[in-house]
Symmetry: C2
Subunit: 406 residues, 2 copies
């Protein structure tokens, strides 16, 4: 408790843009987010009043950081679970807990647990050798034969076994991947051999014949209250989310409820406290869980203006065991577009912002205070309106203006 | 320019809730507001990363503060105009300028200038003695006889002169009043004598037969672009604004346009850079200017969620000469209710917040991180919806919960 204000202190480990935007939300609740940042130049460290410099892998730094916090939570998923468990044992309210966040850190543990829970997952397997991967490809080929998709031509069961059947497969680093890093499409055995040679612990998954990607975002409090946001469509390019459409266009109510219920069930089963983002593949006939994140998530940035309660405030409410806020849409169509750093040189970012504001006075801009580097997420824009197609076009144009200058 | 981000630095003199909320807006624009705060416990100093401790009357402190700022602006109107003029002469972009802000600091100068401009003002006069005030009351009585209100019974011109006619009058301190302080209703000569004896420099004004109060908020950039927000109704209790209704209910379009045009004309005529809030009395047949403020204003707090661009972002855009943001309403009915400190003791503020969130998950809360003292503005709540009556009732209930506990 901050004795100056009578209001709680939340500490967030990590000083990225998620902590930056969480600080904005904390201010409205009468709080000031405490941030553990690796460097004073980090996105959140530039704007928060209570910044401690330290590393998330340093138990002593975490212990010192947690002193006086009413709750501690995370901007990323890289804090060792051992440290989280130690702090929890010492009485720190730290969310999500070690036994929960492991499912967002470790893709193998996540796939195992989801399989146990009967959640919809792709065929998958932990692998150590290229031969394991080849076996898995064969297994995928066999499963496809046994369970043809309603929409695919029926394969010929009597055809000779094809060494290319089942390939390509998707390999994922068990730990540490994000924004397309740590994910590989393996076309054949040679590619598998090359990847395995790097020594990265891997799982492999069948390639899901997805039509698009969705995300279901929920928040859960220690009391057990869960609040679900409208299901969104996430549009990826080169493995990076470039756009989020809220609500997901042309999603049937049944499918939307299925996605929300799945996220709620997972939040409860895994004991999540705070936000849970469930990244989903939508195929012709079902939903498949792709990834889990347990923190404010890129697929929820639209909620700052587009929902009654932003995901950042919701995360704070959840970890503080406040009642959850309303999640309904603030407009019929909301689109968030990420702004990536453009090529070096060219028009300075401040000038780009001038041009954007002149071109579209209604677009909402969020810049993260980051040095512009090609491909780096440096901000996002949000547009609200009545018609998804025009809102989407405006958001894309706005992101492009900030990204590329003109 | 912040070399770490390539984005501008705005300095705000004063560390109150206006600077606190401006910092929130600055974060979205990739900035970090620099705050000159009297004490490290001030509302904005609790949440901003770049806080300098100093007094707004100390020229050396202001000079040091302004170094490296792309623009300097104000959380309040108490910076001496001489200091502002000095800094401007030294090349600081400081807005609004000395020759403009004086009209928000000095009620006599404001009334003189508005009278020159032909803006609608009440009868008024600077006074030094109780006899001046009595003369003014007689003048008011004469004017009422000469120009009877359409709605009043016609007075009898031949009636003997009445020493109570024209009273009560309204006395205002030329400088420094706000939230009902510095304003007195003088019922008679004895009250006038008592007030004059305090030595406070005064003007007096006729009591305007107002039906309600309105506010027109505009922003103006150095380039000369002006953006006007929808006109709102402000509801006062004991001289303090308790509620703001956006848009002002049952306001004719003609009257709304008149109020917006008046604010735009004043912003242009006075050379305002940043926000200008024009507080208005609405009588049976006209608008009368009550006060001017040149900064984010309590009557504009609803814009954080209720308008496409918040007044805080708009103020930053204006002083940085960015193009102005869209000002349209985000919902058909928006109500902001101030939260005042309740009686000492009782339920702690954090617990009140829990109860409020449980009772109404859709209300937006803004707490200023201030010690609770009876009658002190410690925060505000905003509710958006379709129907003004129910939105207003929800906002009032929410404010009461935070104010009084249950």
């Amino acid at each position: 408790m901050d004795t100056r204000t009578g209001l709680p202190v939340v500490g967030m480990v990590g000083g990225g843009q998620l902590a930056r935007m969480t600080h904005q939300a904390a201010i409205a609740l009468g709080q000031s987010l405490r941030v553990l940042s690796v460097s004073p130049g980090d996105s959140a460290a530039l704007v928060a009043a209570d910044v401690r410099i330290g590393t998330h892998t340093d138990l002593a730094a975490l212990r010192e950081f947690a002193k006086g916090c009413d709750a501690v939570t995370f901007d990323h998923e890289h804090v060792p679970t051992g440290h989280i468990a130690t702090l929890a044992a010492e009485g720190v309210k730290i969310y999500p807990g070690a036994e929960t966040i492991v499912f967002a850190q470790d893709k193998q543990r996540m796939r195992e647990r989801l399989s146990e829970l009967g959640a919809p997952v792709p065929l998958w397997r932990p692998v150590s050798t290229a031969a394991d991967i080849a076996d898995f490809a064969a297994e995928v080929a066999a499963a496809k034969t046994a369970r043809p998709s309603r929409h695919a031509a029926r394969p010929d069961r009597d055809a000779p076994r094809d060494s290319t059947a089942g390939w390509p497969v998707v390999a994922k680093a068990v730990r540490g991947g994000y924004d397309g890093r740590g994910v590989w499409r393996l076309p054949d055995l040679a590619a598998a051999e090359e990847l395995v040679a790097t020594g990265t612990p891997l799982i492999v998954e069948e390639r899901v014949p997805l039509q698009r990607e969705l995300a279901a975002l929920v928040a859960r409090s220690p009391f057990g209250q869960v609040a679900a946001y409208p299901v969104v469509e996430t549009v990826q390019r080169d493995g990076i989310c470039v756009e989020v459409l809220a609500p997901a266009p042309d999603l049937s109510e049944a499918r939307a409820l299925e996605a929300q219920q799945l996220a709620i069930d997972l939040a409860n089963a895994l004991g999540v406290v705070g936000l849970l983002a469930v990244e989903l593949f939508e195929t012709a006939d079902r939903l498949v869980v792709n990834e889990l994140a347990m923190r404010p998530h890129n697929s929820g940035h639209w909620t700052i203006e587009g929902a009654r309660t932003s995901q950042f405030e919701q995360h704070l409410r959840a970890v503080l065991d406040y009642p959850m806020g309303e999640t309904s849409l603030a407009a019929p169509a909301v689109v968030m577009a990420n702004v990536l750093g453009g090529p070096a040189g060219g028009m300075p970012i401040d000038e780009r912002l001038h041009h954007l504001f002149a071109a579209d006075p209604g677009v909402r801009v969020h810049l993260y205070g980051k040095q512009v580097r090609p491909g780096r997420k440096i901000g996002h824009v949000t547009v609200l309106g009545d018609d998804m197609a025009s809102v989407r076009a405006r958001a894309a144009r706005a992101a492009r203006r900030l990204q590329e200058g003109e």
